[in-house]
Each structure stands twice: as structure tokens, then as C-alpha cells.
């Protein structure tokens, strides 16, 4: 457990000292969100209806950005081999990486999503639902993304391949999260959608690190 926390702490320190990555993710998120009003037009009614979907798609794409380098540096300089020899199960390494990815990508996105959604004229009762769904949703994306990053480790042009692998698997997260927002917009209960989203997260929490760990061991061979 302490090894796990140490690993998360190490990744956090690394990303704090190279803050550019997190800032690039946030900038991408805002810029991509900014393109939608420019493309669709500034009509507040249309934008307000599309706002949760726009925020979600931008968050999904932004969360993919740092995955490319998630294991890359560790793989190249041999840190990954050492981690695998440290006694920590490979799945735990994947889980720690997912947690670090969420803390450095998901959490900042969560903070930035509020302002972006308000700028997109989201309805006042839609905002808390959107933010509440982003918490488990982005963590599920971090888990899936970590597994995907471990699977493409060592591949040629892994960065291009990664979205192709992760995006189809992220469909349920996107659907349950945005349908919660749609339900909130028309005054229907949000709870079932939110619970389904949590169920997806509960399902991915053991599955994704197991797959990621198996892929890490395969990559280190």
C-alpha cells in the first residue's frame, strides 16, 4: 500500500515539476470547447442544450492527450522494469498510474469544466449534474486510458493507435454521463443514469488495471 502511494506521489511530483503537460491538456480542453460556439453559432438556446455533450467530448479527447507519454518515459529508461521488480503487482502499478493520471488530468478538467459549461450557457440545474457525473466519468476514462496506454506500449505510432482503442470502449461512460444531463434538462430523475455510471466505474476498477498490468508485463518481456 505504501509502495502504491509512493508511486502515485512520484508521478504527481514529476507532473508538478513538468507542469506544461497539465496546462496543455487544459488549454486543449478550452480551445476545443471554444470551437463549438464558433462553428455552431452563438445562439444561447442551442448552445445550452449542447453544452453537456460538448464538455464531455472535449474532456474525453483532452484526457487522451497525456496517455501517450504515461508509460513511455518509464519504459524507455528502465524504470518500468524496476517497478515490476519492486514487489508491487503489475495491476497495482497500472492502478497507481491511473490514479496519477486522474489527479493530473481528470481533476484539473473537472475544475475547468465548470467555467467552460457556464460560458456555453448550460442551464443552471444542469451544471451540478454535469460536474457530479464528471467525477466518476473522468476516473473511468483514466482507468480505460491507462489500460490502453499499457497495451500500446512499445508499438509504432502508439499515440495514433491509442484513440482507436480507447474511444470505442469509452462509449458507455459517455452515454450514461450525458444521458444524466439530458434527463436533468427535461426534469427527469438523474439517479438511474448516475448509478449506471458508477456501475461502469465499479466494473472498470478491477478490470482495467488487470488488463493494464498484463500488458505491462508483456511489454517488459
Amino acid at each position: 500500500m505504501s509502495l502504491l502511494l509512493a508511486l502515485i506521489g512520484r508521478d504527481l511530483r514529476l507532473s508538478l515539476r513538468h507542469g506544461a503537460d497539465t496546462i496543455a491538456v487544459l488549454l486543449f480542453f478550452f480551445l476545443a470547447g471554444l470551437l463549438f460556439p464558433l462553428a455552431i453559432g452563438p445562439n444561447p438556446e442551442t448552445l445550452g442544450r449542447l453544452a453537456p455533450g460538448i464538455v464531455w467530448v472535449c474532456a474525453l479527447l483532452a484526457a487522451l492527450l497525456p496517455l501517450d507519454r504515461l508509460f513511455g518515459a518509464d519504459f524507455e529508461d528502465g524504470t518500468l522494469d524496476q517497478l515490476l521488480l519492486s514487489g508491487l503487482p503489475a495491476a497495482a502499478i497500472a492502478l497507481a498510474k491511473a490514479a496519477a493520471h486522474w489527479l493530473t488530468t481528470g481533476l484539473p478538467l473537472l475544475l475547468a469544466a465548470g467555467p467552460l459549461a457556464v460560458m456555453l450557457r448550460i442551464s443552471p440545474n444542469g451544471l451540478p449534474v454535469l460536474l457530479a457525473c464528471l467525477v466518476p466519468g473522468t476516473f473511468a476514462l483514466s482507468l480505460l486510458g491507462t489500460a490502453g496506454a499499457a497495451i500500446v506500449l512499445g508499438a509504432r505510432r502508439g499515440g495514433v493507435l491509442l484513440p482507436l482503442l480507447v474511444l470505442p470502449l469509452a462509449v458507455p461512460v459517455l452515454i450514461f454521463a450525458t444521458s444524466a444531463s439530458s434527463a436533468a434538462a427535461v426534469g427527469l430523475p438523474v439517479r438511474p443514469h448516475f448509478l449506471l455510471l458508477l456501475a461502469v466505474l465499479a466494473f472498470l476498477t478491477p478490470l482495467a488495471p488487470l488488463a493494464g498490468g498484463a500488458a505491462l508485463r508483456a511489454a517488459a518481456e
Binding site: A155, R156, R157, L161, L164, L165, L169, P172, S179, V200
Partner: protein, 267 residues
Amino acid sequence: MLRAVSASSPLAPPRGARGLHRFANPGRFLRLAGRVLPWLTAAGLALSAVGLVWGLFFAPADWQQGDAVRIMYVHVPAAWLASAGYFALAIASAVALVWRHPLADLAAVEIAPVGAAFTAICLITGSLWGKPMWGAWWVWDARLTSVLVLFFLYLGHIALTRAFDSPERGYRAGAILALVGVVNLPIIKFSVDWWNTLHQPATISLFGAPTMYIGMLWPLLFTALGATLIFAALVLARLSAAVLERRIRALLAATARDYVAEEGHLA
């Protein structure tokens, strides 16, 4: 590197797995495949031809959909095989991961393009059917959408297995991806159904009528069985070719090594 070599060499089979390992021998597989393949191909083509002629010319047209219903004789088998192919891919992947079975690795790699082709046929015929029926080439129907996601899962697997310099790494990564995909497939299916019911009320479904007319069912069974046999024949042919290709590459490498050793070119 040492591990990669030992993984592909025939290890002593664990107790209880001997039944499976009988088929691990590539030579035995090639002999078996060579014997079965012509029959499989012939039977698949014959059954499909009978079913298609029956379905396209002799089966009755639907009272509501008219002649457009005949697309079903191609579309429905393709749809069945699209999902069955992914399960076959997952089974081959599981066997490859658990028993490190070289033939299962190759099978997974060879099933994926065939499955993707059948998925593409399913999507294209579905879209052709949708134009006269729904008045649009594409409708965000739950079924169409989940098949589209399945198509991308196939494409991801194909791209992944071919993205590594060492084929063994590609096999392992592809196998892990296929297992993650097959576990997620029911969730994706469920979520797309859920999404569809939320966004729009139930549209026309393919089999809205309670049962199918028996005169339409028979040709469909023929084409379905025929397409299944063709699927199997394609996979077997590709698999034999892959085994042979591997052998040729090993022979070429051995020849090159001997040449270097004799001539002392790499002194």
C-alpha cells in the same frame, strides 16, 4: 528476448490440457486444414448460392417492405457472424494467453480481418436497406450504432496486432485488447440501447412482426449456414497461409545463418 523465444517453442503441455494440445502441432493442423478446406469452401458456396437464389428470386416479398426485405438474406448472416467472429477472436485470445498456444495467436490475428469484413458487409447492407425503409442512409438506431462500435473494436485489434516490430508482442497486446473488448461488449450494447430509448422512441425494428414467414426463414437459414462455413473456410485458409509463411521465414532465416557461418561474412 529469452522469454519470447521460449514462449513460442513447444513447451511440455500441462496435465489435463493434452486434448487441446493435440491440435497445437502446426504440421498436424496443416494436414487437417488441407483436407477440410475444399469441402468447407464447396459446402459454404453451395449453401449460400441455394439460399441466395431462393431468397432473391423465389421467396415472397414482404407485404410492407416489398423487395427490399431481400437484403436480409445477406445482412442477417453478416450481422450474426460479425458478433460470433468477435467471440471467436476472444476465445482464441484467451487460449493464446492461458496456454501460450502459437496457433491460437495466429488464429486471433487471422480472424480479425475476416470478422471486420463481415461487419462492414453488415453495415453497408443495413445502410442500403435503411435508405428505402427509413428514408436515410444512416439512422442512429441502437443496433446500427452498436455494430459500428463493434467495427471499430475490430479495426483497433487489426491495427494493434500489426503495430509492433516483434510479432509476439503484437499477439499478446491484441489478445489482451480482445478480452477487454469482449467483456465490455455487453456493456456497450446495453448503453447504446439505453441511449437510444432515451433519445428517441422505438423506431421500426427489423423484425417488428411477431414471427417470420416460414418461406422467408428457410432461405435465411441456408444463407446463414453458408456464410458461417465461408467464414470458417476463410479463417482456415488464412491460418494455413500464416503457418506456412512463418515456416518459410524460419527457413530463410536458417539459410541466411548457414550462409553467414560458411562464408564467414560477418567476421
